[in-house]
Symmetry: D2
Subunit: 294 residues, 4 copies
């Protein structure tokens, strides 16, 4: 039977670092992933949007998948992003992830042409029937270009191994509606950083975040305060980190996290074009924001 | 010195009822207002959007203002809506409300032509300089047609008697940003019903709501659970009332409240055209929603 | 039988000027209206959005209505704006306009609360049954806050004296769809200045414009070139005036026209608050744009 | 020197057909391309959005590129889509297209993460410096997820071999502004089917369209009528085809064209998942639309 309660708390998203020639740097990826585990993350999610999944070749995606699973070594569960524009491409990667030992896969319905609800359902169904891992259906119109309604997400949950939903529209009303539609038992996760406090209030089981690369302590304290129902403390630590959460979302997670790590003295490699380093002004702004947090 | 802590908790918005000839029914207005006071509201706000302020003549607005203040009779504070498309019109009504004994006035920058930030500031400043009551600046682009940024709201708070902000965009991220911009001391209020739970989490001092006409008990329990930091109870009672909150916002507050009161066996009069009674389908839907709550 | 072909070509919209005390200046209104007639307008439309209809009292609206009709004196047809938030208010003004000798009235479904399609239909039907003048249904979500679909506009045309449609969404695709839905015979008018060239191409019978206050010669030449099917000339004169058309829409017609007239040495009075004169920067920009056109 | 006037009139976009196993069907692609040439197209553009470029592997893109160039055999110019999420990927394909004999390449800034203007400029600049072919910069936020402003497009035209702009926002005001910003000499192309008539009026040098697969005669007649300045005929033939143009855009070009060809008795192969055949209802609707055109 499929385990649906694997993920809760804070699921951390590592970046995929590149070397100066824009090749994937696997050793550095392992180092950065290790930091996340040691900081106390409850789960690790390689090859998310933060991990620039769509910018990688098939071979690179396989290498990162393997590296993440080996490095984490079952200490905490690993959720591998396997989204692909084509159904066949997603199946190929999902099967690889399963063999490599992933605990679950995350799938965003990437779009070039907008997909109908039936096309989306068919896409998930075909992938799901090719693996036995639990699947997290991921809604993020800002990157994927498709907005899945609560009703469609509910329909997807009829597919046996689709057991989790990640909501990243950034609209708390959507999350309330989703929870109302799905019922109390279904695990849903927040993927919108500036919603962190409100999403836990709404009943989210976890927070999927790249911010954990930069401020694991503040993220941990927010979750802890909420868990012990100390709302004043939760609100206080949330407002402390809000500016950073808004900044990394506004500037794009891979670019902002890569810069933020460098500012903190942590090697974070290079980006792959067309992504370019944060502009000088934004870099200074990020230094100021991080400076206030230390 | 201006009192800024007058309003907290639940500020209830009465409808303005009409008779069969579409004339304002002042006795019925008093009866409906009395119900809100006796249900335990912490404040009363006549002539809000729910009270169809913009559909009334000057004489009618004065009559409703007077009736509300007399009926409440200082038991709880009264916040009178005095918004008007012209600056002169808003000043006239605000001065009347002050003389009549209002505790504060609420002002939405109504628009036909979009106003610049300077025009909005000038509008508020001129009104504020004509009265000594505290003013609640009210942002509601869906009805007023103007969206005031957190930065503009912060600027408005430099005007001495503008001491409160009501945010009704329905976007919790906006509310988080507003709170961050204004600082912890400034009183801000939530005007978006489906945000009720999240807004208190964000630090809102009060909830401005027309739902109190229909479900005062559930509204009271939500505020009580949040106040004692019982988040599980708060979440539970919030999800119980969410469908109703979404319904009344989707259908328009004056129309939905008038119908809901009738369904509950409470005389609620008629609407003024162009507003028409809820359609038969929506009426039945509302009966079902209210039925589940009793 | 209702005359449906009254209006074609360029229908000019006068501003409503105020004196230094913000009172309506009727003599100046007549002078400005006379200029439009003498410049060759094919129709005059007082109390449109340009004429700040919603900012006026009932008495002021009646005075402007009478003044326009007297001044034009049947030389060209007069289309009076009678939109009002309430149905009763619109009926009152429409009946006044009819008695005063208007050739047609224009009605925008103004909204505070969003109206359902049935409420909008009912609003128009009640007004229409109270007058025998032809009515132009006017769609302008940017000012009125309601967007009437082509299907609803088609439905409105079933009401006998609603014979004209004015489309101001600014979306040429909407206009194409509208023309396709309504058929070739129905007169539709363009109310979006930057669409002028494309709207005539789409089959619009006329252009409703406040720009005629500032550049009647260029407006006339565009219409003339299009009428003789000289597309190169039409395109040329359109691109000459495009920057001005975009500017006055961006800054708001009453404010921009009032400033533009002053720049051209024509007395244009004052605005009514909350509207304020164009900012210094925008004033200079407008001087530059107008300078290039002379 | 780079030739900038290669493309004018109607540039036809072939679909990329698949076999029953979802493999690219090159022979069928050649047959379909030949039809477009023989129908009188002024240019051919393989691997556009219609050609589902992003759903193909590197090898497939190369095979389609070669097939198109071979089949057209210099009778009319060929414009090859070489967009790719990564800069390196776009360079690789652009160089291949140049060697294979393409006349020009078309590049859309595909996004997963939104790109800054500097990232987009850098992306184009690096690709442009790797080839000597003329480049058409292509703006289509609905598929690519990035909206390039007229100012950015103007900046891109500073790169020597970027000589053409294709605008597909569907907003004629944007096209007017673009033409005003770029000046009369710069070739811009319309990529929004329902804008066809208005775009030629605005000065577009050509119409990039997949509709040519289904209604080449009507497309030809529209261009001919416009070219001889017979606006009544142009409008008439435009409104004849508008419903089809709107339908194929609404349903997605690859899916709608594949179905439409089948309805017309032309072999069009299969789609690649997640794309699925038009639903039964939509298929019938398309039959009706096409039926009225024959």
């Amino acid at each position: 039977m499929i385990q649906t309660n694997l993920f809760k708390g804070i699921i951390a998203y590592p970046i995929t670092p590149f070397d100066a020639q824009e090749k994937v740097d696997i050793p550095l990826f392992k180092t950065l992933t290790e930091r996340l585990v040691q900081s106390g993350a409850h789960g690790i999610a390689p090859l998310g949007s933060t991990g620039v999944l769509p910018y990688l070749t098939e071979e690179e995606k396989e290498a990162v998948t393997t590296a993440a699973i080996q490095q984490v070594a079952k200490r905490i569960p690993v959720l591998v992003g396997v989204s692909h524009l084509t159904t066949a491409g997603a199946i190929r990667h999902a099967r690889f992830a399963e063999k490599a030992g992933a605990d679950a896969v995350m799938i965003l319905p990437m779009s070039y042409w907008k997909l109908t609800e039936d096309e989306i359902f068919h896409h998930y169904e075909k992938i799901a029937s090719n693996i036995s891992l639990p699947i997290m259906a991921y809604n993020n119109p800002a990157t994927g270009g498709i907005d899945m309604s609560p009703a469609l997400l509910k329909r997807l949950l009829q597919i046996p191994n689709i057991t989790m939903v990640k909501e990243s529209t950034g609209d708390i009303q959507r999350m309330f509606t989703l929870r109302k539609e799905l019922g109390e038992e279904v695990a849903f996760y927040n993927g919108s950083n500036p919603l962190a406090l409100a999403a836990f209030t709404a009943g989210a089981r976890g927070w999927c975040t790249a911010a954990y690369n930069l401020i694991p302590g503040l993220n941990n304290r927010l979750y802890a305060a909420f868990s012990r129902q100390d709302m004043a403390a939760a609100r206080d630590v949330f407002y402390q980190q809000l500016e950073l959460l808004q900044f990394i979302v506004a500037k794009g997670l891979p670019v902002a996290i890569q810069a933020g790590l460098k500012i903190q003295g942590i090697e974070s490699g290079y980006l792959r074009s067309p992504l370019q380093p944060l502009s000088a002004d934004d870099h200074q702004k990020l230094e100021e924001i991080l400076g206030k947090l230390n």
